[in-house]
Amino acid sequence: MKELLTFLDVSFGYGECAILSDFTASVPADARIALVGPNGAGKTTLLRIAAGTLRARSGDVRLHGRPLTSLSQRAIARSVAMVPQDVEVPFPFTVEQFVRQGRTPYLGWLGGFNPSDRDAVERALDLTDTVHLRSRIFNQLSGGERQRVKIALGLAQNPRLLLLDEPTQHLDIGRQLELIELIRQLADQGIAIVAAMHDLGLIEGTFSSVWLLSPERSVRQGPPRRMLSPELLEEVFNCPSHRAVSLPQLLLVPKEATHS
């Protein structure tokens, strides 16, 4: 499978504190990768490096074989879309006005929209099932709606790779399952997905690969079954596992996950 994005010996740190060291991995064009790890392990950092907003301290990040440092941010944003965790909008933008910002890397000097820009916005609203929200004020949306609209902005960029930072955070379980369903649909459309995930129960069946990040060790990669074993999680999250649970537990699993 053709590789979309590759990390070659990438290192990064804030000040003295090293976050990534000599990280090598590749994101194929049909990737469904979940980033798992404790807070501060570098999930968001990794996403930012992939999105071109942070520059690796050393090593090489390549998009379609070309180093990110040799590409303009506009060029990167036409292939890679980052959906951040929190977006704060100081003005009452409507959903449509918000999603239109996804066309920024395509706009000319005056910032006018042409028909292909409008089409991309419509398609993004359609794919995320947010057409009915278009005239609502972004700041007044519920958590689940907000998340879908943020993804719509990313899709308006026409990306090959969608980077999602904690897309299911702060959502109720119903909205979480809807969002997982959306991620699957997008992956089926041929968009590579890399998502930082805290809800480990949502990973299997949707993501085909897990990158396990921990502060002390280098990144480990593998299929969900192997990476999400109690022993590994116990070590990475530095917590004793409680396998004997006295309370009844409810685990909701996305539909097709049971037979995949």
């Binding site: 999105a51 071109g52 907003t53 303009s72 941010q73 506009r74 060029a75 990167i76 944003a77 036409r78 980052m82 951040p84 977006v87 704060e88 909008v89 100081p90 003005f91 009452p92 933008f93 409507t94 006005q97 918000f98 239109r100 910002q101 996804g102 920024t104 890397p105 706009l107 000097w109 005056l110 910032g111 006018g112 700041n139 960029q157």
Partner: protein, 333 residues
């Protein structure tokens, strides 16, 4: 459609403003003479061309410049409470302009041009200072912004008084300075109007490509940068263009407060927050707003004239407090 409506309102305001004053020129008489079917008396003609028309143009241009610079600064600071007066750029412009006045006689074209240029420099310097002081990780929260703006603008406008000491005898400098600090639209000469008109036109044209960029910048600096916006370049351009417009306004009207706050806010309530859409409407509505305010200011206590800055402060102060309360309720502090 709404744009044509605003144009009609502007024309009506001009017609009314041209008619009221010590010598009344009824709108009917004015319209008939414009249509070539009647004549104004010589007194009426002189008053119209030498006094009222320059004053009308000055008020409209100052209002337009202040409103658009308010719109730009609100986008830059990602904060609907920014206004050239509140954030200190007017104060910087006044200090710059005062220097010019004391260097060269302000009535001459060169003198006025120097003042306007120094006002521009003063506005840029003060806004850059406030931005550096109030910026917290790419955000400019309300409280640091207002405090930094308040401190800088107080420092700057009061240091203009130092120039009083330099003023020998009873020069015109002091009178001009006083009228600036009160926010009076002085009776402009045609060359002065031409200079400010050029500054306004340049500022408005330069705002057009900035409008869509401000929409993107509203998402936050990091997000905007990810989308391929050159954040640093956009910020500098907004500071330069906003300061040019502030300087244009200050050169004719001095410290006129809150216009840059009220007009963009009203337009945002009517038309939504899209900067590209707001830009032309804000420019037009600003002209109408200050023209009406200045007409009221010069007639309400006739024969005495009220500085229009006093009037906008009276309307704008409570409005500003209302917005501040609303901002707190919406928690974007």
């Amino acid at each position: 459609m709404q744009f044509i409506l605003l144009l009609v309102v502007l024309l009506l305001a001009i017609l009314i403003s041209a008619g009221v004053g010590a010598v009344a020129i009824p709108a009917g008489v004015l319209l008939r003479s414009l249509a070539g079917r009647g004549h104004l008396t010589d007194t009426q003609r002189t008053i119209l061309l030498a006094i009222r028309l320059p004053r009308i143009l000055a008020a409209a241009m100052v209002g337009s410049a202040l409103s658009v610079s308010g719109l730009l600064f609100q986008g830059l600071f990602r904060n609907p409470l920014a206004d050239p007066y509140v954030i200190g750029s007017s104060g910087g412009a006044v200090l710059g302009a005062s220097l010019g006045v004391f260097l060269l006689p302000p009535v001459s074209v060169a003198g006025f041009g120097t003042s306007a240029l120094l006002a521009f420099g003063g506005a840029i310097a003060s806004i850059a200072l406030v931005y550096a002081l109030a910026n917290v990780e790419g955000r400019t929260p309300v409280v640091p912004l207002l405090l930094a703006g308040f401190a800088v603008s107080t420092m700057l406008s009061y240091s203009s008084y130092f120039l009083e000491v330099l003023d020998r005898g009873f020069g015109t400098g002091m009178r001009v300075l006083t009228s600036w600090l009160h926010g009076t639209i002085v009776q402009p000469t045609w060359p002065q109007l031409a200079i400010v008109g050029l500054m306004l036109a340049a500022g408005l044209c330069a705002s057009v490509p900035l409008a869509q960029r401000l929409n993107t910048l509203a998402l936050g600096e990091e997000y905007a940068a990810h989308l391929g916006l050159d954040v640093q370049q956009t910020r500098i351009a907004v500071i330069v263009v906003g300061s040019l417009l502030t300087a244009a306004a200050v050169a004719l009207g001095g410290l006129i407060s809150f216009v840059g706050l009220i007009v963009p806010h009203m337009m945002r309530m009517l038309l939504g927050p899209d900067h590209a859409r707001l830009l032309p409407y804000t420019a037009l509505a600003g002209a109408i707003f200050l023209l009406v305010a200045d007409t009221v200011a010069r007639t309400v206590m006739a024969p005495a004239e009220l500085p229009v800055g006093v009037l906008t402060a009276c309307i704008g102060g409570p409005f500003f407090l209302y917005l501040l309360r609303k901002a707190r309720a919406e928690a974007f502090l």
